[in-house]
């Protein structure tokens, strides 16, 4: 490791094992703006900054009788929202997201699942950073 103080990471007295365990909650929703809405809601109501989303193609899924597309053809535009939470808040956030997308769950074109993370780092924004403004 370099002795140059400018190229050395600050010693914060922590190791990887000092960080709390957490959960990764993943939510698959239609690509209709809902993903951004969920991320904003997680920030405003739960002060969670560790959410992001990406777009994907969704295939299959159980559909209500008479539903339009249980097709496995070219796929449906979907968004995957992921959020990392501490163990202690996972239940609350999972239920919150479940409630937010419940109508989609009933329509068969959404799924939400939760898995365990063995190591999680903290994420904080610098003090004084303003919220992004809508254009």
């Amino acid at each position: 490791m370099s002795n140059d103080p400018e190229n050395t990471l600050p010693d914060r007295g922590t190791s990887l094992m000092d960080y709390p365990r957490g959960k990764l909650i993943t939510c698959l929703v239609p690509d209709n703006g809902m993903a951004v809405m969920l991320i904003v809601a997680l920030k405003e109501r739960h002060q969670l900054l560790t959410a992001d989303f990406h777009r994907c193609r969704g295939y299959g899924g159980a559909r209500e009788p008479g539903g339009t597309s249980g097709d496995w053809g070219c796929g449906t535009p979907m968004c995957v929202v992921t959020v990392v939470v501490g163990d202690d808040r996972a239940e609350e956030v999972f239920e919150f997201l479940g409630a937010m997308v419940s109508s989609r769950l009933r329509g068969g074109n959404a799924i939400i699942h939760q898995g365990r993370l063995s190591h999680v780092t903290r994420f904080e924004l610098p003090v004084g950073v303003p919220d992004e403004q809508e254009k």
């Binding site: 295939y59 159980a62 209500e64 009788p65 959404a110 799924i111 939760q114």
Partner: protein, 121 residues
Amino acid sequence: MTTSERTITFLTDVQLITCIVQSGLGDIIVKAAREAGAQGATIFFARGSGVRERLGVLGVAVEVEKEVVNIVVASDQMEAVFDHVYLTGQLDTPGMGFMYVTPLEKAATYIPKEVVDRLEQ
């Protein structure tokens, strides 16, 4: 059904199969998963790193662009889906891709009423 009557049925004993393959092969993986009994899958694009060099005397280039396929399956289906996807995707060929399984604690999605009724009996 009103909002207050809504309930979420949690699924347990589910696992997430993730398969990372060369761009353009995602649909083959999804088809294989379906054949093995999976109920759904998603595909998204990614950039891979690692093997970029040309392989062997045939000069087969390994695409840097990748497709990531996620498949949520019941635990008792996992091995069947995993094996079929592995073999169909020819993941035993160097450079074709790799896959792994993540245990999930719980999941929720739409479950047809007749299925819920059957499970509750």
